[in-house]
Symmetry: C2
Subunit: 431 residues, 2 copies
């Protein structure tokens, strides 16, 4: 049988067993690419900017014409044609000439610097008097300065943010290949669970909470959630639903199983799918093990975690895909989603460094905890006189209270006997 | 004329002039409500749970029948009907009886506690022997313990997260009223700007970057972005586009205007819309000032900020709506969006406490800065031997380099003469 694992052991197991394996890409419009992972290198087909460009309002000149210019000895240059924004100058600047140019305007052939309008005097005598010496390149962005044709500007596996979308627009790329979204199937189990739309509610039923909370939390991580309904607590039904979800998705979350019988079903379902999947590759006569090269299929990896809440969590791996049994109680299911499933999803989607927000806080009251196991304590956050206090959320039932009032949680490590009032803690903030 | 404002002055002006004014609500499915702001109080129409519920696998009992029970003197109770998950017991428990019950099962009438199965012995003699004394209520969640019928479980203005969606599902609420998304219009100006789809690119044109980056950044904040195209740098065209955007949206962002002429146009356009809007309410014969009660219309609030990058930023307010002129340079526009527009949007959408991520870092190199103005320095972040280093992104052009390589920025305060190598800094992280 399986030992209950500590959180550290669970993270080690997840790290060893799962990695980014985005092998399917799709082409999408850059407008829709925010938060996606690039599935190709992006090479610029152009020089950016595509022309020598002024950084200031001023006068395009031969820099050598300004050498030594100063207030008392301005350079006197012949005013020539004005450059219009967005138009390519159709003349060549000659030595001794200066051409008025706006910020962003294209330098005429010949010019290699721009003198800011602040350093000029115009006496309407056909000349412009420039009292600042400029070196070649001053106030100019040369063609290709930002990015040269053929340069790789974005690498495969890069997370696309608004900034990257802007850069893609700059080089004229309107469609890109990104990895498909991770698709995650959600199954709720339990004979007492009914959907919100189900009129049979009442008596001794409770409503399905996990499908709703998990659906939104999965979307928040940039993945696609798919619900597979509420399944009666019988092995055959759960097997059928889980197999369908496993075939169609990249990961399956089965929530429910607060009773011993349900936990056993989830366990057995994972083992059975694993057996079946691997058997398929044998009983065709050939053992097609190579199909799964590097993607092993150990079945159950974790059966029980020494953590509160969330002890009955089950983690399996079948042909590279995670099948996870979450506790049935909504608070437990949600906390395990945040603390175990979320890091796994981030790993699988290359978002490992994103969006973990920690804040320092001071415990508002004592919190006893001597379970010899780790604990994730949901807390509310309150600011008083500039100090952020973490207030444990008590209550034996606490489904609604906990979910709604928790602004985050404190991770109480193993061996620590609770938290004292005024103790400094780190709170992982829900966002 | 207007003085250039410091960032502190700008924030004061924004705080005085803008507040949440969500007055239009819409009903949506809870599945779509993640990140939205609740426009109504939510009252539970039910007790949650709706029945007395066991928290463990065990035996439903009269607690008084177990008083004094221990290993050596177990309570001997008559085993009676087993309770099935999700079914309401149709019998009344009598004193001296115990009914097997699963976690989540409904207690029979009479029972007031549950003894865990771990504390029982079954010798198949028709009795169950319980060796633990239980107080009334032990291992039971009573009807309404979590939430009573008539209780307010969510208040108007609450941000909906996956947790809240779960709680709504728990009480059977599938549709809620939320405030409409803030709608933000985006206009790009400049004769040299062309859209990515425009074949006239080349020569002395550059592509529209801001519409793309801002569109995604606005969506990231849970708002609705609408593009109003690329507008020629002439007052009449800009006025027409800005007026349309102002009428249709809750906020307008006009990017462009790196040249003096364009800046002036944005400035004049805001003043003209303000004049026109207020004139409308006079020339109908009646001065309908009360329409705008508490929502004044000062026109231009800020014209120029003492910050690098982003000096040419213009902020206006017309009948309560912000019209903001952003710099044309994509890096400047993006930084001002992050540092000025984002806090304003968060204020307008009641998300003030969300999603600002600061990290400690060590400067990798010196960075000179003696402008007498504040500076937002884009930096890359690198970890070496466990130390996070902030690496300034140099380069005079830097559009693509900066946008792509910046992981965040350091806010250099006024009067500070740059940053030294190995100096400790706070980096606001882009996410």
């Amino acid at each position: 049988m399986f030992d209950v694992k500590t959180m550290d052991e669970v993270f080690d197991i997840l790290n060893e067993n799962f990695q980014f394996c985005g092998n399917q890409a799709e082409e999408i419009d850059i407008f829709l690419s925010n938060g996606r992972i690039l599935a190709e290198d992006i090479i610029s087909n152009e020089d950016i900017p595509g022309f020598d460009r002024s950084m200031v309002d001023g006068f395009a000149v031969f820099s050598s014409d300004t050498f030594g210019a100063q207030d008392s000895v301005p350079a006197q240059l012949l005013l020539t044609e004005e450059i219009k924004m967005g138009q390519k100058p159709d003349f060549v600047l000659a030595k001794g000439q200066a051409s008025p140019i706006p910020t962003g305007g294209a330098l005429p052939m010949g010019a290699d610097a721009v003198v800011m309008v602040e350093y000029s005097e115009n006496y309407n005598d056909g000349f412009i008097y420039l009292n600042k010496s400029q070196s070649p390149g001053n106030n100019v962005i040369f063609r290709g300065d930002d990015c040269k044709k053929g340069n790789k500007i974005l690498s495969k596996y890069k997370l696309i943010r608004p900034q990257e979308i802007g850069a893609l627009a700059a080089i004229g790329v309107s469609k890109i290949n990104v990895f498909k979204k991770l698709k995650i199937g959600i199954i709720s189990t339990g004979d007492e669970i009914v959907d919100i739309s189900d009129d049979s509610f009442g008596g001794s039923k409770i409503r399905d909470v996990n499908s709703y909370a998990l659906f939104s939390a999965i979307n928040d991580l940039g993945c696609e959630a798919k619900r597979y309904g509420i399944i009666k607590d019988e092995f055959d039904f759960l097997y059928e639903a889980a197999l369908k979800a496993y075939k169609e998705c990249d990961m399956v979350l089965i929530s429910g199983g607060s009773s011993v019988g349900e936990r056993d079903h989830t366990h057995k379902v994972i083992e059975e799918i694993n057996k079946q999947e691997n058997a398929d590759y044998v009983h065709n006569g050939i053992f097609e093990k190579n199909v799964y090269e590097g993607v092993d299929s150990p079945g159950i990896l974790v059966s029980g975690i020494a953590v509160k809440p969330g002890k009955p969590t089950i983690i399996g791996k079948v042909c590279g895909k995670a099948i996870i049994g979450l506790p049935g109680h909504p608070v437990s299911a949600f906390m395990i989603f945040k603390t175990v499933v979320t890091p796994l999803i981030r790993k699988l989607t290359l978002q490992e460094n994103s969006k973990e927000i920690l804040t320092d806080a001071v415990m508002k009251s004592n919190y006893p905890s001597n379970h010899g196991r780790e604990e994730f304590l949901p807390v509310d956050l309150e600011t008083e006189n500039g100090v952020i206090y973490a207030k444990p959320i008590f209550g034996k039932s606490g489904l609604i209270t906990t979910l709604i009032n928790a602004k985050g949680y404190v991770h109480i490590k193993r061996g620590k006997e609770g938290l004292s009032q005024n103790e400094h803690v780190k709170v992982t903030v829900f966002y």
